[in-house]
């Protein structure tokens, strides 16, 4: 009851503030979509559709009150619209109409919000505010998870993250992947934040938050998280000032951390290389094979939740040592039904077919490319008004690559948080296209004369 009142007061404060500043309603929806306070409270809040109400208020306030000068609908927003329409069509003809409609009920909101978000991101402070709310909202989940992991409360499918739901961002593999994607944004906020300007306290909190994110793969024992952490470590090599020092620190941290890791974690991580003994990894391979066969017969997809019809038969091979020179191999035949895709790529292929997969890949591929252009173009700009652009583009690119790698092993093709990242990217691209006409945003002559071409329309 107390939690219900607390969350209701918090959301109420956001909405009340939104009367004065409509953009705050966008932040309120972002917070609700990530934290899902209605899930945490268990009380009367669960009966109120706060997500839908806030979304409607945010859109309505933008439409009626907020300025729309400079707002543009980019090519990637068009791709989001295309994906939304296509998903709607496959839902109408889905193999499992009831279950598909259930998934559609939140997917359309995630896609529509990602399409709407760039229209509201008109100022530098709005980018910062949105990134801050996204990071702090993830903090609501990972801070407790990190503390519980340090206290020894972690374990595969046993780490309790506020909600006993094992769904969405409260699922181990998903929060491990998203936690890694949040780290670059947190670092950007420390370096370029104005709401909480750089100070010792801010740096300390951000370091703690990043550490909590890094603890997520250990606490949840999600292999995806470890792979995402490795990808992020490699990507960071592009931007760190002193690579030798960075690599040395990384090596030293790994050496210190390895003996402290729980044995259950190291055992589970070893199955990344040897998946044949692990049922979870073997299921993935079997589901992916089934999806490829399904897509051959249904190239336009079978709609949401199509995996429910699969029946998988595979063998796991386990080794057991009997003496120094004897290894006994035990093969076990496993039959499973209705196993999820465990990969966003196969999720898109199975549910939306080849057209859906192509749209999704184009949407994300273009994001990586656009952020690379912004990163390069503004890398040397030191003026206060422009110095934040390249680091934000870099952070968003890193977050997206981490997401795309994590997506190989987790079905998060429609994860709303990841579409918020897409929305931020589209907003940044449009913002730069808007300011590039201004003399201050043009590259200085003659060093960057070759880069004077305007950004492409995509």
């Amino acid at each position: 009851m107390f939690l219900d009142l607390f969350f209701l007061a918090f959301v109420g404060a956001f909405v009340f503030a939104g009367i004065k500043r409509p953009f705050l309603l966008v932040l309120a929806y972002t917070y609700i979509d990530i934290v899902a306070p209605q899930k945490i409270s268990y009380g009367f809040l669960g009966a109120i559709p706060i997500s839908l109400v806030t979304f409607t208020l945010a859109f309505g306030a933008w439409f009626v009150i907020d300025q729309k000068r400079g707002a543009r609908f980019s090519f990637r927003q068009g791709l989001l619209l295309l994906l939304l329409v296509y998903c709607g069509l496959t839902t109408l003809a889905a193999d499992f109409p009831v279950e598909a409609a259930d998934k559609w009920s939140w997917v359309w909101k995630a896609l529509l919000f990602a399409m709407f978000l760039p229209l509201t991101l008109r100022t530098r402070l709005r980018f910062e505010a949105l990134a801050l709310v996204m990071v702090l909202s993830i903090g609501v989940i990972v801070i407790g998870g990190g503390i519980k992991t340090l206290a020894g409360g972690g374990g595969y499918q046993t780490l309790k993250l506020l909600v006993n739901d094992n769904n969405g961002l409260y699922e181990g593999s998903i929060i491990s992947c998203v936690g890694m994607a949040v780290i670059p944004l947190t670092i950007w906020l420390v370096q370029h934040g104005t709401i909480f300007p750089k100070s010792r306290l801010v740096t300390l909190f951000a370091a703690g938050l990043c550490f909590a994110c890094l603890l997520m793969p250990i606490g949840t024992q999600a292999r995806t998280g470890l792979i995402c952490a490795a990808v992020l470590a490699v990507l960071s090599l592009r931007t760190v000032k002193n690579r030798a020092l960075y690599l040395g620190a990384l090596g030293a941290a790994s050496l210190i951390a390895l003996p402290l890791l729980p044995s259950s974690f190291t055992q589970r991580m070893s199955t990344i290389e040897n998946h044949s003994s692990d049922q979870s990894a073997s299921t993935r391979i079997a589901v992916w094979g089934w999806t490829l066969e399904y897509a051959k017969q249904h190239p336009f997809g079978g709609g949401f939740e199509v995996y429910r019809q699969n029946e998988l038969v595979y063998n796991t091979v386990a080794e057991s040592r009997a003496g120094d020179n004897n290894i006994a191999l035990e093969s076990e035949r496993i039959v499973e039904k209705g196993r999820a895709f465990h990969s966003s790529y196969f999720e898109m292929l199975g549910e939306q077919g080849y057209p859906g997969l192509v749209i999704w890949l184009l949407l994300h591929g273009l994001g990586v490319w656009q952020m690379e252009i912004l990163r390069r173009r503004y890398a040397r700009r030191k003026e206060e008004a422009l110095a934040w652009i390249a680091p934000l583009a870099n952070a968003l690119q890193q977050a997206q690559i981490v997401y795309l790698v994590g997506s190989l092993f987790v079905g998060i093709a429609y994860q709303p948080f990841c579409y918020m990242l897409v929305g931020l990217q589209c907003g940044l691209w449009s913002y730069v296209r808007r300011i590039q006409r201004l003399p201050v945003a043009r590259p200085p002559v003659p060093a960057a004369a070759a880069q004077r071409r305007p950004l492409p329309a995509a």
Partner: protein
């Protein structure tokens, strides 16, 4: 206890952020993309306003 802490800290920070954002003009007007109108234009606007009042 841990759950209360994990809920409380980020919410307090978001509350402070919300409070600070309310006082920031650059939330709605970007200093770079929406620069204030040039003085000549502002003078013209002002004189038009004075005309309307009179």
């Amino acid at each position: 206890m841990v759950d209360k802490l994990t809920i409380l800290i980020p919410h307090i920070l978001m509350g402070i952020a919300l409070w600070r954002l309310l006082a920031r003009d650059d939330l709605d007007r970007d200093p770079l993309a929406d620069p204030p109108a040039p003085p000549a234009f502002r003078r013209k606007q002002q004189s038009e306003r004075t005309k309307n009042v009179s």
